[in-house]
C-alpha cells in the first residue's frame, strides 16, 4: 500500500512543473479545483498549457496571474457573469502576456482526451465541419473518411501531463468517489500522464472499495492525494456545498482592470497560505449559507456474494 497523501503545496511542488500541460475543471461548472489553481499561482508556475472544456473563472485567474501561455478550451469566461476580463486582456492586448488559443468544441475536446486515453492518434467527428474552428485551430483537420470519402474532422489526441481532479472523497492510495455532473472527468484522468486528487474528505479504503462502480480513475495513475475541504469553492461540490454565485459576481467586478485584479488576487490567493485560510477568510456564516440544507441520499446497492 502506497500512501499518497500530502499537502496540496507539496503535491503542486512535486508534480506540476513550468511548461506542463494541465487539465483542470474536467467536471465543467462543478468540482473545479480552485484550491489547486490558487496553489499554482502562489508557486508562480509559468508557461502552463491549460486544458479544460469550460473552466469557469479559474482559467481567468490563472491567465491574469501569468501562469498560462496556451489554452486548449471549448469555452472560457465566467459562466454566470459572461466574459472573463483577464482572458480578454491576454487574448486582445497581451496583458500580462500573449496566450496561444486552441479553440475546441465541448465534443472535440472530449474526443481529443478520449483519443489520448486510448493512445490512438485521433478520433473522427463531424463537429467543426463548416465552421472556422479548423482555420483558427489547425490541429483540427478536415479529412476524407477512408471508408466512404465523407468529410470528417480528425480530432488529434490530447495527453495532458497532469489532470487535477477535485473529488468528494478519496483514500490514501488515490482511489476516489466522485458524483454529480462528471463532464470529461473519466477521459481527462485516463488521458493524462498523472493525476493529482484534491478531496473534500479522506476516508478509509473500505469506504471507497465498497462501491467500485463509483471510483473515477485507476489509482495507479494517481500521484498525490491532498485533503482540501472547500477546495472547489466558489464552484459547487454535490453533497457538500452549493455554488457561490455572489463570489463569481464579485470576482467579475473586481477583475475589470489589472489593478483591481491584482488587489483581488492579493486578498484571496497570494496573502493566504492555503485553502484552510481561504475558507476561514470566507467566514463561517458565508460557508454555512452554502452548505447542505436538504440531504438526498442515494438508494443503496448490494455488492454481496
Amino acid at each position: 500500500m502506497v500512501d499518497k497523501r500530502m499537502s496540496l503545496r507539496e503535491a503542486i511542488a512535486r508534480f506540476v512543473s513550468d511548461g506542463d500541460t494541465v487539465a483542470m475543471g474536467a467536471a465543467l461548472e462543478g468540482l473545479i479545483p480552485f484550491a489547486a489553481g490558487h496553489e499554482l499561482i502562489r508557486q508562480r508556475r509559468r508557461g502552463l498549457t491549460f486544458i479544460g472544456p469550460i473552466s469557469d473563472a479559474l482559467l481567468d485567474q490563472l491567465v491574469g496571474a501569468g501562469c498560462v501561455s496556451k489554452v486548449v478550451v471549448a469555452w472560457a469566461g465566467n459562466v454566470s457573469e459572461g466574459l472573463g476580463h483577464n482572458y480578454r486582456r491576454a487574448a486582445e492586448a497581451g496583458i500580462p502576456h500573449r496566450i496561444q488559443i486552441e479553440d475546441h468544441t465541448n465534443l472535440t475536446l472530449a474526443l481529443g482526451l478520449l483519443a489520448g486515453a486510448l493512445g490512438v492518434p485521433y478520433i473522427p467527428s463531424r463537429s467543426g465541419l463548416g465552421s472556422d474552428l479548423p482555420a483558427s485551430n489547425p490541429t483540427l483537420r478536415v479529412i476524407a473518411s477512408p471508408l466512404d470519402g465523407q468529410p470528417l474532422i480528425a480530432v488529434p489526441a490530447i495527453q495532458p501531463d497532469v489532470a487535477v481532479l477535485h473529488v468528494q472523497r478519496a483514500d490514501a492510495e488515490g482511489r476516489a468517489h466522485c458524483w454529480g455532473a462528471l463532464g470529461v472527468t473519466n477521459e481527462a484522468g485516463l488521458a493524462s500522464r498523472r493525476i493529482i486528487l484534491t478531496a473534500e474528505e479522506i476516508v478509509p479504503g473500505d469506504v471507497i472499495l465498497s462501491d467500485p462502480n463509483r471510483i473515477i480513475a485507476p489509482h495507479f495513475k494517481v500521484v498525490a492525494v491532498a485533503h482540501a475541504p472547500g477546495g472547489a469553492h466558489p464552484s459547487p461540490a454535490q453533497g457538500y456545498y452549493g455554488r457561490d454565485h455572489a463570489f463569481f459576481g464579485e470576482y467579475h467586478r473586481r477583475s475589470r482592470t489589472p489593478d483591481d485584479f491584482a488587489a483581488w488576487l492579493d486578498e484571496w490567493v497570494l496573502r493566504l497560505p492555503d485553502r484552510a485560510a481561504y475558507v476561514e477568510r470566507l467566514g463561517a456564516e458565508r460557508w454555512q449559507s452554502l452548505t447542505l440544507r436538504d440531504h438526498r441520499f442515494a438508494a443503496t446497492v448490494d455488492y454481496g456474494l
Partner: protein, 253 residues
C-alpha cells in the same frame, strides 16, 4: 408599454418552439428558462440534455446559474459523461437545441468566438462550448440574440456554429447532418429560413415593434415571410411561470 420585458417575450417565444416529447439540448440562461417553461405548459414530456452529462425530466423550481448547480443534478434521469450526451447529439438523437451568441448572420451562422480577426481579435468571446456541436448535429436549432445591426451582420466575422453557411444545400455539401437553424428569436421578432435558399426571413414581429425598426436594426436587406404575423403576446400563465423561475429578474429584467 407592454407589461413584460423583451427577454421575457424571448423566453416565451423560445418555449413555444419546444414540442412535447422532444429531446432538447438545453443551454443556459434564456434557453434554460424557456425549457423550464415549456415543461410546465405544453411539453411536460420533453427531456432536457445538458452538456455536462445530465439528462433531466423533472422540472426544477430554483433558478440555475449553471447547469452543474446541485439542483440540476439531484433527481436527474441520468448523470453521466459529457461524451455520452454529446454522443446522443452527434448521432442525431436530439430533436432541438438552443444556442446563444454575439452575432447571427443572414444564413443563421453564429459567432461566439472572435469579433474581428481571430489572430488579433477586437473582442475575444468565450468560444463554442457545446454551441458548435448543437448547431452541427441537432435536428434543428434556435438562436436567441439581441436585435441590432452589430449583432445581425450580413456575414459573421467567424463561424463558431454553422447555420446554413452560404445557403442552399451548403450543409449537406460540407458534411453536416443536423437540420440547421429553424428560428432566430430576437428582441424585435422571430426569423425563420426560406426552405430553398435558406436565407433568413422575418416570420413574426413582437407586439409594438414596427417592420421598419426590424429592418433598420438588421445588417442586411431582411426578407419578410409571406406569412408574416405578429408574435402572440405572452399569456398570463406563461409570464407568471417565467417570473416565478427568475424571481430576481437576473436574466429577464
Amino acid at each position: 408599454m407592454p407589461d413584460y420585458t423583451p427577454q421575457e417575450l424571448m423566453v416565451i417565444a423560445a418555449a413555444r418552439e419546444v414540442r412535447d416529447g422532444e429531446v432538447v439540448f438545453v443551454g443556459m440562461r434564456l434557453p434554460l428558462l424557456a425549457f423550464a417553461l415549456a415543461k410546465r405548459t405544453h411539453a411536460p414530456n420533453a427531456a432536457g440534455l445538458f452538456e455536462n452529462g445530465i439528462l433531466r425530466d423533472r422540472p426544477i423550481d430554483e433558478l440555475l446559474m449553471t447547469m452543474s448547480d446541485p439542483p440540476n443534478v439531484s433527481g436527474a434521469s441520468w448523470c453521466t459523461s459529457l461524451l455520452n450526451v454529446m454522443a446522443l447529439l452527434h448521432r442525431g438523437s436530439a430533436d432541438l437545441g438552443f444556442i446563444g451568441g454575439a452575432e447571427v448572420d443572414r444564413f443563421g451562422n453564429v459567432n461566439s468566438s472572435y469579433v474581428g480577426n481571430s489572430r488579433a481579435p477586437r473582442v475575444k468571446l468565450p468560444g463554442s462550448g457545446g454551441a458548435c456541436d448543437i448547431a452541427s448535429h441537432a435536428g434543428r436549432f434556435i438562436a436567441i440574440i439581441e436585435h441590432d445591426r452589430r449583432r445581425l451582420p450580413e456575414r459573421v466575422s467567424y463561424v463558431t456554429s454553422p447555420g446554413y453557411g452560404s445557403g442552399g444545400d451548403w450543409r449537406r455539401r460540407v458534411g453536416l447532418r443536423g437540420g440547421g437553424p429553424s428560428a432566430v428569436i430576437t428582441t424585435l421578432g422571430v426569423l425563420g429560413f426560406d426552405a430553398e435558399t435558406k436565407e433568413a426571413e422575418l416570420r413574426s414581429i413582437h407586439p409594438g415593434v414596427a417592420l421598419d425598426d426590424v429592418r433598420a436594426n438588421t445588417g442586411w436587406p431582411l426578407r419578410v415571410s409571406g406569412s408574416l404575423a405578429p408574435t402572440p403576446p405572452p399569456a398570463r400563465d406563461e409570464l407568471e411561470i417565467v417570473r416565478a423561475l427568475d424571481k430576481d429578474g437576473i436574466w429577464t429584467r
